[in-house]
Amino acid sequence: MTAARSYPTIPPVIESPRSAPNRPRRTRTNTELYAWLFMRVSGIVLVVLVLGHLFIMNILDGGVQRINWGFVAGRWASPFWQVWDLLMLWLAMIHGTNGLRVIINDYTRRDGTRLTLKAVLYTATTITIALGTLVIFTFNPDMGS
């Protein structure tokens, strides 16, 4: 029989020899999931909206030549085209903004740069969306005449 071997006692906590992860704190939200989903869904919808828009504006009888104040006024007289353009504005703007947000996240290294770029991006987006929405809803064919 061999005598019972004695093993060195292991301290209760073994200190990690590794560097601690410098990952940002976990957020536990579904933001990224929804952003990802939004990109797919809005992308599909935008294919229809934008191609339809381009077709009507640039190809259908006369194309760009016939676009003038009256033409736009005529289209926006119908709630259908108002909703179409409104949807296109919102989806395209948010889709593009999210794309740029992702690129900023990918390529900026310093927190300051990221914050600045995102502030500029979100400001520009907000102004564009607000302005576009305002025009669609307050447009009056007799304006300025």
Binding site: S19, P24, T27, E32, L33, A35, W36
Partner: protein, 251 residues
């Protein structure tokens, strides 16, 4: 057997081994001597059976003993010699020289801190690996018998069990190059291995980790990882399966 026996002895002795001269252009980095990485070209006479790793060993053994790189098994099992060979991530021990042009460029894998020549600091890579909890998690009483698993259930994660942690995929990912905090394909592959394991009970925790900012949603389906994996793992598909599991909250 007979074919060998019939061959005249003289021709066997005379048959020269045909070697092919190849130029091996290596991106070297010796921080003690030169703060900048530089290119150095070696000429090696390659045997028809050589792999790129043989060229490196030849250079280290006969031309410049200071050339530094990792290798261990030399048979595509340990995953220590991933490097960028002619611009793509490969295991040096799996690339045959006969499939290569006369000039072969070899660089360290990208996106991890360079230490010397072809050696990079793998710690950020393994930190990401550890943070997805790459071990079986169960709760409750210790089981009194084995966990039984059907063949169909085993099949679901079969592909991702093949990973050898060589880092070829993670360091081929453009998102990882610019953002080292992204967990990277390899960590997701190894999370997939447990998420889709019917015996494992840590699915929720792992999905939660990968649902975050630096998780699967950073993936842009570039497919570089699938292309790079020396084990032929469908890495991008594994990532997509994790995304799907998150989306439907069902594994």
């Amino acid at each position: 057997m007979t074919a060998v026996a019939e061959r005249p002895a003289e021709t066997r002795a005379e048959a020269p081994i045909e070697t092919r001269p190849v130029r091996v252009k290596i991106r070297r980095y010796v921080p003690e001597l030169n703060p900048e990485p530089y290119w150095q070209t070696f000429e090696v006479h390659a045997l028809p059976t050589d792999r790129v790793l043989n060229l490196l060993l030849d250079i280290k053994g006969y031309q410049d003993g200071s050339l530094t790189f990792r290798r261990s098994c030399a048979h595509g099992v340990c995953g220590s010699d991933a490097m960028r060979i002619n611009g793509v991530n490969r295991l040096a021990c799996k690339v045959l020289v006969k499939d290569m042009p006369d000039e072969i460029t070899i660089e360290p894998i990208k996106g991890l801190p360079l230490e010397k020549d072809l050696v990079v600091d793998m710690e950020p890579f393994f930190e990401a690996y550890r943070s997805i909890k790459p071990f079986l998690i169960t709760y409750g009483q210790p089981p009194t018998r084995e966990h039984i698993q059907s063949q169909a259930d085993r099949e679901r994660f079969d592909d991702t069990t093949k990973c050898i942690l060589c880092a070829a995929c993670t360091t081929s990912c453009p998102v990882y190059w610019t953002d080292g905090q992204y967990f990277g394909p390899a960590a997701i592959v190894n999370a997939h291995r447990f998420i889709f394991d019917s015996r494992d009970e840590g699915t929720e925790e792992r999905l939660e980790i990968l649902n975050d900012r630096e998780g699967v949603w950073r993936c842009r389906t570039t497919f570089n990882c699938t292309e790079a994996c020396p084990r032929g793992i469908e890495v991008t598909q594994a990532i997509a399966e994790v995304k799907k599991a998150l989306l439907y909250r069902r594994v």
